[in-house]
Symmetry: C2
Subunit: 201 residues, 2 copies
Amino acid sequence: MATPRRVGAETSETRALLLDRAEELMLEEGYAAVTYRGLASRAGVTGGLVQYYFPVLDDLFVALLQRRSERNIERLQAALELRPDEPLRIVWEFSSDETSAALLTEFIALANHRKTIRAAILDVIKRTRSAQLQVLKQRWDEYPAMDGLSPEALLFLLHGIPKMVLLEEAVGMSSGHRDVLRFVEERLDTLEPRRKPARRP
Amino acid sequence: MATPRRVGAETSETRALLLDRAEELMLEEGYAAVTYRGLASRAGVTGGLVQYYFPVLDDLFVALLQRRSERNIERLQAALELRPDEPLRIVWEFSSDETSAALLTEFIALANHRKTIRAAILDVIKRTRSAQLQVLKQRWDEYPAMDGLSPEALLFLLHGIPKMVLLEEAVGMSSGHRDVLRFVEERLDTLEPRRKPARRP
DNA sequence: GTCTATACGGCGATAGAC
DNA sequence: GTCTATCGCCGTATAGAC
């Protein structure tokens, strides 16, 4: 067997800095721009040092994905505590976040044929969906009949529609987007009436 | 300006062979496996020859995308001629095709930060959607009220939901999929009644 | 624990010979 | 129409200095 490779501590400030810069780089230029040499020069360190913290490049991507995911779930739960009476709208708004969608798209692209990243992204999606589902089910009886739509199916739509809209917009497509968003939001207004008056068109 | 680079004819059989092998390679191992050297060895030629037909690798991807798209639109229109009374279900089934979805995912991933591919994919999506929309609008008056859903919005959903399902399944996620597919299909049965009896659960 | 230096083979792309 | 040589960048591995 090989000599155990030395790896930097997870508590290192340098490591955190590298993750920050890597996330920027990924958003600005895509995952293909996240290279040892490119990230190193952006962070003002050597390529070898980046490798010291992330021996394989996928290690960096997985760490990035998990850090993002933890922050997102915290953000979600903070919103749910603040507005416990409108979980549907919170899920809807949460899935409409552009930065997260852009990063998720990058990761899905990466995951396509790299199994360590696929496993990481599956874990992240499952955890997020599960946190949302828990809240949804809790108030499920208070909603009127859903025409046979299960909580899981509704959650899929509340998550999937904004994501698909953002995915299409990333390539410049926009047909039907405005209409479908308005369609869903009208139904949300029925299910979770707003206190404030609706904005004028 | 640079010297005009020599490029192989589009009618070349070698070129067609390379596109066939490239599509296989892309489906089996992802776009990252489509390299000059890799494709060359799979097709039994040299890397230089692949470059003769596709000077930049993106040229190959764009050619692949366009060839697929033309075949898909032909397939779509053949189905519409065969079953002119159920355009909604045809769009729905068309968007549920796994091979096309897998390739589209690869291309969307590629398009993320490569503008020539983004332009090509936008063109392809617009052409496909436009062909579908034309048929939908033609029979729009025959459908009952859609609760304010425009043809464009309905088309977005009929296309987007199966695509999102396939996208999630590609990473191993499946929560709510069965429910949401059944939900939509029940509505399709109402809008476009089947002649044959429905299958038993 | 942190970090540097160096080497290897594969990659896209170019220029030009047969 | 086909193929070779070459360039600079990539991920990765290793050896060793502080």
